[in-house]
């Protein structure tokens, strides 16, 4: 029997199974669905007649996913709610730049307790501002996902959909929604800020955050530069045929993972070079970097989060790369970064239950990676990941206390930050 890792690292498994299947026929599925819809309508007519007598004078709110218990959370209902209409963000926004929209009032009761799960977090160290995305786990009343923006002692809460939170300058934060063809939204502690959209494509400019939108069946429909302080947004220039898999922006240093290699640019995408790397079918993780010009990619074998690193690749501006195999005692990388002095920092864990978090530091090419004893890291229970801030990337660790996380710009010194 082969090693368990070899057996499990089998990305072709599902494809090989499906290759052996015959051509599917949609007609029986359609017919069964139509029959079921008719039956449901007939049952609903009877149920409504009974319910009318029972709830005269009450309010019928309905449920979000009809009567299908297998439907995922968040499945749209048959009839959109008129109580809390969701803005239609499928069309490009045409808003007055900088116009402030009101924050949420009142805040949901679940937000303060352990019913709230921290889904996303961003930080603007200079502005002493944070943004955290919270999802209600149970006994929710009304809105299930909210964004909390805090600056000093002030905070505001906004109803949003799930997405990635990115810090821009001046205490403003972009929420990049995961939904198809939804547009980024901009917030600060005073309210949602209307974004003005510029025509055409242009390279990323200094101070802008790079965000994306998804398409149906497409992870990336487009990339956009968002200027938080000016409240403007534009389509970012990227090669049209790149076949984008993932991206990383550190200031004007862009790294785009494509099917052929890694496209790098140091001028926001105005020009660039393709670095071809023999990846041997390993997954790639673009490492956020605080040192301009230092680009590192981790290659590992089994996915995005439990990521046993196998090779460290340094991408060079002349289109070449340095590639080094690494073997760590604690091989699963949970969060990587290149810090301001150019050193590579990896926060890792081992394969067994109870394996702790370890911080290793070494040269950006993967040489001399050694475990260090970080200061202030004792309360870390899990890694949230690496976030981008206007001052460069930061590592973020979760603690047992949902009200705070630990952040570090170098992996060595960690400090506690409030989340809500």
């Amino acid at each position: 029997m082969r090693d368990l890792d070899d057996l499990l690292a089998d990305p072709g498994f599902a494809g090989d199974v499906s290759d052996g299947l015959g051509a599917p026929d949609f007609q029986p599925v359609r017919a069964a669905g139509v029959r079921r819809a008719r039956r449901r309508r007939a049952l609903a007519a009877g149920a409504t007649a009974l319910a009318v007598g029972a709830v005269v004078g009450g309010v019928w709110l309905g449920t979000s996913s009809g009567d299908d218990p297998a439907a995922p959370a968040g499945t749209p209902g048959e009839t959109p709610s008129e109580l809390a209409p969701t803005p239609d963000r499928t069309e490009q926004p045409d808003q007055g730049r900088g116009e402030l929209l009101s924050p949420m009032a009142p805040e949901p009761a679940w937000l303060e307790g352990d019913r709230a799960y921290l889904y996303g977090f961003a930080l603007d160290p200079a502005g002493n501002s944070t943004a955290s995305l919270w999802v209600c786990q149970r006994e929710c009343d009304g809105q299930r996902t909210v964004l909390v923006v805090a600056t000093g002692a002030r905070r505001s809460v906004f109803p949003v959909k799930r997405g990635r939170v990115v810090a821009t300058e001046e205490g403003r934060f972009v929420v990049e929604p995961f939904g198809v063809a939804r547009w980024p939204r901009l917030f600060d502690v005073d309210g949602e800020v209307a974004i003005a959209v510029e025509d055409g494509e242009s390279p990323l400019r200094a101070g802008e955050a790079l965000v994306s939108t998804a398409g149906s069946g497409l992870r990336y429909l487009g990339l956009f530069g968002v200027d938080g302080s000016e409240a403007t947004m534009h389509a970012a220039s990227v090669p049209a045929t790149i076949g984008l898999r993932s991206y990383q922006a550190d200031g004007l240093d862009l790294t785009l993972e494509s099917e052929r290699g890694f496209w790098i640019s140091d001028d926001g995408g105005a020009s660039g070079t393709l670095v071809e790397v023999d990846r041997d079918e390993l997954h790639a993780w673009l490492v956020p970097s605080a040192e301009p010009g230092t680009r590192v990619v981790l290659l590992g074998s089994d996915g995005a989060s439990l990521f046993p690193v196998q090779r460290v690749v340094r991408l060079l501006p002349d289109g070449t790369s340095l590639d080094r195999e690494v073997q760590l005692d604690s091989p699963y990388v949970l969060a990587p970064m290149v810090r301001a002095d150019g050193k590579l920092v990896l926060v890792t864990t081992g394969p067994d239950v109870g394996d702790g978090l370890r911080v290793v530091v070494g040269e950006p090419g993967g040489v001399d990676l050694r475990e260090i004893a970080p200061i202030g890291f004792e309360d870390a229970v899990d890694m949230r990941g690496t976030i981008s801030t206007p001052d460069g990337p930061m590592l973020v660790a979760d603690t047992a206390d949902r009200d705070r996380v630990l952040v570090s710009a170098d992996g060595e010194v960690w400090k506690s930050v409030r989340t809500r």
């Binding site: 499990l8 498994f13 599902a14 599917p24 949609f26 669905g33 067994d352």
Partner: protein
């Protein structure tokens, strides 16, 4: 548009979803049935399905939930002696892959789902978390415990054959 979208998704995603759900169910016939059931539910509510953000992810979640419910019913039925599971059907795979699927079937449902979706269906941990409806940390814990349990099962199997 609604039913057309269901059909488009069916043509684009049915086989891929069956491949992924086979890893979860450990039985090709069962995988085909739960994926077909997910599409029937979409076809019964085409207007709802039309507004779903990520159709394939939605269908996968429905299929996993259906598989979980059917597994639970079968387990209860077998305990009460009222149902007997038909023999599993398998695709043409190597002996090692089939042994892995057999070992996965012996794991608790939550661990089996996490391992199958992450490793064999090649979904990132975040997508697994969304599919089975639990936080990412829970998926990581299930993967870690599942790997340990799976290694023990495969070692025992090897000893038996030796």
């Amino acid at each position: 548009m609604g039913m057309e979208r269901v059909q488009e998704c069916f043509e684009a995603s049915y086989r891929r979803l069956v491949g992924q759900l086979y890893a979860v169910c450990g039985d090709l016939a069962e995988a085909e049935e739960v994926v077909a059931e997910a599409f029937v539910r979409a076809a019964a509510r085409p207007a709802v399905f039309d507004r779903v953000d990520n159709p394939e992810a939605w269908l996968r979640t429905v299929a996993v939930n259906v598989a979980r419910t059917r597994h639970r019913r079968r387990t209860v039925g077998a305990r009460l002696g009222v149902t007997e599971a038909p023999p599993a059907r398998h695709p043409d795979l190597s002996t090692e892959r089939l042994a892995l699927v057999a070992a996965l079937r012996e794991l608790p449902t939550a661990q089996r789902e996490a391992l199958a979706l992450h490793y064999l269906a090649d979904l990132p941990v975040q997508e697994v978390a969304r599919t089975v409806g639990v936080p990412i940390g829970t998926v990581k814990a299930r993967l870690s415990r599942g790997r340990t349990a799976l290694a023990a099962l495969l070692a025992r199997e090897e000893e038996t054959h030796a």
